[in-house]
Every structure is written in C-alpha cells, then in structure tokens.
Amino acid sequence: MLFQLRREIEILKNRILLLGAEAEKIVAIAIKSLKTHDVELAKSVLDLDLKIDRMEVDIEEECLKILALHQPVAIDLRFIVAILKMNNDLERIGDLAVNIALRSAKLAAKRQIHLPREIFEMAELSETMLKQCLDALINMDETSAREVCKKDDQVDDLHTEMFSTIEAHFHAEATDMKDYIRILEISHQLERIADLATNIAEDVIYLASGHIIRHGTGKDTSRESGHSGLTA
C-alpha cells in the first residue's frame, strides 16, 4: 500500500491546510486592521508573514523530498505538483496581505477617509473564496472549486468599479492623493488574492479531474468506464 508515501502525502496535505489556515488568518487580520484602523494589528501581520514564508519553504522541500524519495506517479504526482503551486500561491497571498496591512496602517492615521463599500465587499468575497478553495482542497470537491472560479469575476468587476468610485471620491474630497492610491492598491491586492484563490481552485480541479483549466485551456474529456483508445 505504499504506506510511507501515503503517510507523507497525508502529512503534506495537513501542512498545506495549515498554511492555508495561516493565509486565511493573515488576510483576515489585514482586512480587520483596515476596518478598525488598528496599526498594531496591521503590524502583526509581518510576523505572521515570516511564519508563512518559513512554512512555504518547508512545504516545498517536503514536496521535493517526496518527489525524490517516493517518485509518485499519476494522482500522487499531480497532487504533489498541485501542492507545489498552491504553496506558492498561498505564500503570495501572505505577501499581498502584508501589502494590504502596510497600506491600512498608513491609512489608519487618517480616520476621516472614506473607504468605499466595494473594498469591503471585495475583502469579504476574497476571504470567502480563499476559505472555499481550501475547503475544496480538503474534500477534493470539484464543484465547489468551480464556484470559486466564478466568484473571481465578481471580484474583478468590483475592482474595475473601484476606479470610478475612487475618482468620484477623489474629486469630491480632494484628500491626499496618496491615500487614494493606497486604497486602489488595496483593491488591487484583494483582486490578486482572489486571483490566487482561483488558481488554487483551478489546481483542485486539476487534481480531482486531471484537467488543466487555467488560461481557459481546459481540455475537457472526462473519465470513461470502459478501457480506452488505441484498441478496437
């Protein structure tokens, strides 16, 4: 039963879920700091990010180790490769959360600034997406992963709206332009977090079905029950 490989994969799965949890947490903190203008909170993400970085390196080494020692094929191989990519994505999410937090720390000084409604909608959406894609990973749930992908469009739309919203506010309030740029940047980071969650969801789909759907290239042929191809 390839006992050892099974065990290693189980461990790896746990670790990536832990990393996912940390990524959720860091995003949540960053957004909370934005909402609550809590500079201390915002600064706390830095430590968390360091931890995430370490976890990412460890997971990558673990993947490499598994590839080298157990030489997985088929589903196992796809799993490791997917983990490798998710790992990268989750680490990026950590970085993005740091970006958000740094900006919200700057913004915190200026409580009067109006944070557009959309930004919170986006925040909420991307948090959900992140949660959902990790759940999809746990359950190898293709359907739920596909939902994540759909939600990404909403986030993109919201981000596009942001420009107009911000511009409107900008002209109306004429506050420090830098702050608006910051808000825009936060929106951008959220959009990217959503993107990365989508990537993860795509990887889950790939894992569960064996199809790459990224870049819209998904060649959708599904499993058959008889035996295949070359014979009569």
Partner: protein, 256 residues
C-alpha cells in the same frame, strides 16, 4: 474487429489463451503500432509473458495450450493452419529475461541465425554480424574479440549480444520479456537506451514488471490484470493521468 491498418504492425483480435484448462488470457484486443515501443505491465501472473509469447508462437512448444482469436501480423493471421511458424519467428524476434547467448563465439552467436536462414556467403554474414552488433551498440566493445566465447561477456554485454543476434536476421518486430531484470542498474540503463534507439527501425514490445522502466522507454503502455487488458494508452497519459481507477491504483501502488 477493426479494419486492417498499415500503421499497426500486429493486431491481437479478441485473443484468449488457455494452458490446459486454465485460462491465462481473456479476450485481449491490442493493436501494436509500427516503430513504437509498446510496454506490457501488470502484476505477476497477469499474463504478460503469455501474451508476448503468443505473438511469435513461442507458446507452441508448451503442451496442452489453446489459442482463440486472431493474431494478425501485417494483415495475415499467424495462427492460420498454413502459417509457417519458422518464418513467423524469423520475422518476430525475441529477447529473453536472462541473457542467453549460445556457448559459441561472439561471432557465431550471431552467424548462427544467419546461417539457419540461408545466408551462405561468408562476407555477407560478416557484414551482417558487424551491422547488427553496431545496431546493438556492442560493436566497439567486442570488435577485437569476435572469436572469444560469448560467455566471457558481462551480463549487460551478453544481453546486448542477444539483441544483436535477434536483429541480425532482420526481424520486423522484436519481443522482449523483461530484458533487463537480471541486470544491474548500469547495464539496465544501456539496454533501455538501446531500446529507444532501436524503435527507429523495429517495432518493439517489451514486458517489464518495473513500471519505471515502462515509463522510461515506452511510447504505449498496456496494463494487464488477471489475464485481461485493462487499459492501453500513451505512456505519458498512463503515468500522469490514466483513464481507469484500476490502472491508477496499480501504478501508484494502491493495489493488493
């Protein structure tokens, strides 16, 4: 039954095989593509060797066997009553699990097959011996000792000699039954590299219980289980993303 197709060298059509009363193969249909390496994998006793040996009627020497279905070589059924077994075996060469050079000189090991097949002219024979040794990537290692006993060669060299011997009579298909399982990793590598080179000229079918080997050398992989052909597909497909759960379970070791 599908139509004859010239890109298929051998077509097994609904083949069943019996050792006495025990059925060893069940309705196998498999088309072997010309100039490809086809690997047969599966757990021990699943019928890989049996199937391979059907293809050049090597099983005929076992008493009490029975073949059903058709094995079509270039459009002709080799199990036809009028088929010339000897000629079939010339066209479908074979390399065995353990290197088995004849206890003759290196030269005569190869010349034997030629003489049997009617090469009389000495210089002809010489030329073909050299050529086949070159094809088998052995020429440089043995060219100065053609008259030494073949038994003095190392295991890996012996196996390449056996391959050269098979190639000398210009077969169209080369069957190999676990050709590297008796060799150490380094000799195995040489054989694997050779197999990949040989497919330019020959159609190769190889049985291996080393899945990694199948992965490395073959273009097409066929997975046998309990006498049935479970799945056959491009090797990379089988090893990254097989269609059937059974195949996936086997190659990832979730089996048994």
């Amino acid at each position: 039954m599908n139509a004859m197709d010239s890109s298929f060298k051998i077509q097994a059509q609904d083949v069943s095989f019996y050792y006495g009363n025990t059925q060893a193969l069940e309705n196998i249909s498999l088309d072997v593509q010309t100039n490809h390496v086809t690997a047969l994998i599966g757990p021990s006793g699943c019928g890989k060797s049996t199937f391979l040996r059907i293809l050049n009627r090597m099983n005929d020497i076992i008493p009490g066997i029975r073949v059903e279905g058709k094995i079509v070589l270039d459009g002709v059924d080799i199990y036809d009553r009028n088929a010339d077994i000897v000629e079939i075996r010339r066209r479908v060469g074979m390399v065995f699990q353990k290197p088995n050079p004849f206890p003759k000189t290196i030269f005569n090991n190869i010349a034997y097959g030629l003489q049997i097949n009617g090469y009389k002219n000495r210089s002809d024979v010489h030329m073909r011996v050299e050529q086949s040794l070159k094809d088998a990537a052995l020429w440089d290692e043995v060219k100065d000792r053609l008259d030494d006993s073949a038994l003095g060669l190392s295991g890996g060299q012996q196996q390449r000699l056996c391959i050269a011997r098979a190639l000398a009579i210009e077969p169209e298909v080369v069957l190999m039954d676990e050709p590297a399982s008796a060799l150490d990793p380094i000799a195995t590598q040489k054989i694997e590299d050779l197999i990949i080179k040989l497919k330019e000229k020959y159609t190769i079918i190889i049985v291996t219980h080393n899945m990694q080997q199948a992965a490395r050398v073959s273009d097409i992989t066929a997975f046998f289980y309990l006498g049935k052909l479970i799945e056959v597909d491009k090797t990379e497909k089988i090893f990254t993303n097989p269609k059937l759960k059974q195949t996936e379970d086997y190659i990832t070791g979730r089996f048994g």
